[in-house]
């Protein structure tokens, strides 16, 4: 008994160490964004918000923020709609060909994203499509819609399908069953899926990088500056992006908690 509890204590210490390590780089980014000097030296001599002011004043950054917000919003909505039906086919219905479908849906998740981004770039080029952030919407969907499908599928596996049959027996049409029975039962999973989709799109770099053409998202802008030479606007915008993502996540989780408390 003694030995086991020691092992347990070691394991939970390890757990908390890992969680702290996960957040260390974000702390470093936050600190670097508050240092006044052009190059980051720790300990910081003088704190200032001037890099935030410069970031807000930059038109390039404003454009990048808008592009990222629009991309995340559009991807979030389309991916979720696709995923609701995708998840019903994945988990709820038995149909011939389902086994293949289940593996095809997983394929883009089990795939290096940089290679997927390049393949899409080549494909858009071959089709002669203009590459703007609209192309990135499509690229993000290829990766994000399958992930959201899995999130919704977990919910779809969990509910009792006999209520749908009961509704049908009582004369409900297929659409009424979906609208009044299936969708409300799926809703908590759908909402987590939407949250996932928006946040994954917001933080994605490789797919945007290869497909957005002249449009620049926040992660792309940061990448350009990190390659081209450090400016403290990199941690400033990086930290803003972290805070924005964190806020969306917090609000989303609060809504989610309320949803799951309802009967």
């Amino acid at each position: 008994m003694e030995r086991r509890s020691l092992a347990d204590r070691l394991r939970s210490a390890w757990l908390w160490i890992v969680v702290v390590v996960l957040y260390l780089p974000l702390v470093a980014v936050g600190l670097a964004s508050l240092s006044e000097s052009r190059f980051f030296l720790f300990p910081i001599r003088k704190y200032s918000l001037k890099w935030y002011e410069e970031s807000f004043a930059s038109l390039q950054i404003r454009d990048a923020l808008w592009t990222s917000v629009a991309l995340a919003a559009v991807v979030g909505v389309i991916a979720t709609v696709l995923a609701v039906f995708g998840a019903l086919a994945y988990a709820r219905h038995d149909w011939t060909g389902k086994g293949w479908y289940q593996q095809i849906v997983l394929a883009p998740i089990f795939f290096p994203q940089s290679v997927l981004g390049l393949a899409l770039q080549l494909w858009f080029n071959t089709l002669g499509l203009d590459m703007t952030w609209h192309a990135s919407v499509f690229a993000h969907l290829v990766w994000i819609a399958p992930i959201v499908t899995m999130v919704v599928a977990i919910q779809a596996y969990g509910y009792d399908a006999s209520v749908e049959e009961a509704a049908r027996d009582l004369g409900a049409t297929r659409w009424m069953v979906f609208k009044d029975v299936t969708f409300p039962l799926l809703w908590p999973g759908v909402f987590s899926g939407l949250l996932f989709a928006v946040l994954l799109s917001w933080g994605n770099f490789p797919l945007s990088y290869f497909t957005s053409g002249a449009d620049v998202t926040v992660p792309e802008w940061l990448y350009g500056k990190m390659i081209g030479g450090y400016t403290p606007m990199v941690p400033a915008l990086g930290f803003l992006s972290v805070v924005a993502g964190g806020l969306v996540l917090a609000v989303g989780l609060a809504i989610q908690a309320r949803l799951s408390r309802q009967p």
Binding site: V21, F85, G99, F111, P112, S114, L222, G238, V242
Partner: protein, 305 residues
């Protein structure tokens, strides 16, 4: 997964009429109807681009169209011009990352399983959240932490007078960066796998005198194996495409295959070579995913009741 679906291609299988007489006739078609938008997206956005890459890889060097006669010269070039070195580096780094993450994540998954549901949820959220931050921001953070006069070096110098110098620009820090970035992809499938281990089985084994090691080897490991396999595959395949880690933490000590692919498409202006390198990655990733996933029952993994 039905027997039928394993032996028939998707299109042929879906064209088959329903064969379960007890079910209402519309049900199978509902499944296919629901799947259609997703199949369309993945056909146009995944399969078609990969096919185009495969075709480009057989075009002569430096061409930008698909009309030339096919050739193997790009594949010959990969070895002749030593591009296979970056490919081997990527495989090695991906393998290392996978093995290290298995060891790092197992105790995490075990201890999360023992937490109360609300605490487990809190930890899950804490571990998922960094995934939503672009990886170049997080790697920049590590660079600020580990560089000369960064948080670690500067902090130590100011407090105890020690200096670590710069800890970036080496191979171990690249591996560290990859382990850091891909941790959730190992941990969550592992947690799913461990959820299949009933606590009663462990208690029974313990009562019968099994050591902690025997419990791990004979009960936990086999029952959690599907989750482990998924986690390992996911990490291996995704990290094959890693390039930010070597760029921002390794500062160029090594070049990964993704970086070579990217430069073939950009500075190199040699799409066929980039495509040939991509095909190698796609084949390796595809083979790993296909053989690994084929053995798993996805329905029961995700909690079909």
């Amino acid at each position: 997964m039905t027997d039928l679906s394993e032996t028939l291609p998707a299109s042929a299988a879906s064209a088959r009429p329903s064969e379960a007489p007890a079910r209402p006739a519309w049900r199978p078609s509902t499944g296919l109807l629901c799947a259609l938008p997703m199949l369309l997206l993945l056909g146009l956005g995944f399969l078609a681009p990969l096919l185009i890459v495969a075709v480009y890889s057989f075009m002569p060097r430096g061409t930008f169209s698909l009309t030339s006669a096919p050739t193997f010269e790009n594949y010959v070039d990969i070895v002749a011009q030593n591009f296979h070195i970056s490919f081997l580096w990527s495989i090695w780094l991906a393998l290392l990352t996978t093995v290290i993450l298995m060891a790092v994540c197992w105790p995490l998954a075990v201890s999360i399983k023992k937490l109360s549901p609300s605490r487990a949820l809190l930890l899950t959220v804490l571990i998922v959240a960094p995934l939503f931050v672009a990886e170049n921001i997080r790697l920049q953070g590590w660079s600020l932490f580990l560089d000369r006069a960064g948080l670690l070096d500067g902090g130590l110098k100011a407090t105890v007078g020690l200096s670590t110098g710069s800890l970036t620009a080496n191979v171990p820090v690249v591996v560290f960066g990859m382990v850091y970035i891909y941790l959730p992809f190992m941990l969550f499938p592992m947690m799913l796998g461990l959820a299949n281990v009933p606590p009663a089985a462990l208690e029974a084994a313990q009562d019968l005198g099994a050591s902690r090691w025997q419990q791990f080897r004979d009960i936990e490991l086999p029952l959690a194996a599907p989750g482990l396999v998924i986690g390992a595959l996911l990490v291996f395949v995704i990290s094959l495409g890693a390039f930010s880690e070597s760029k921002f933490l390794g500062k160029g000590v090594i070049v990964t295959v993704s970086e070579d692919i990217e430069s073939a498409f950009t500075f190199g202006q040699n799409w066929p070579r980039g495509s040939a390198l991509s095909v190698l990655v796609i084949v390796l990733a595809g083979a790993a995913a296909f053989f690994g996933l084929r053995r798993l029952d996805l329905d029961s993994m995700l909690g079909r009741k």
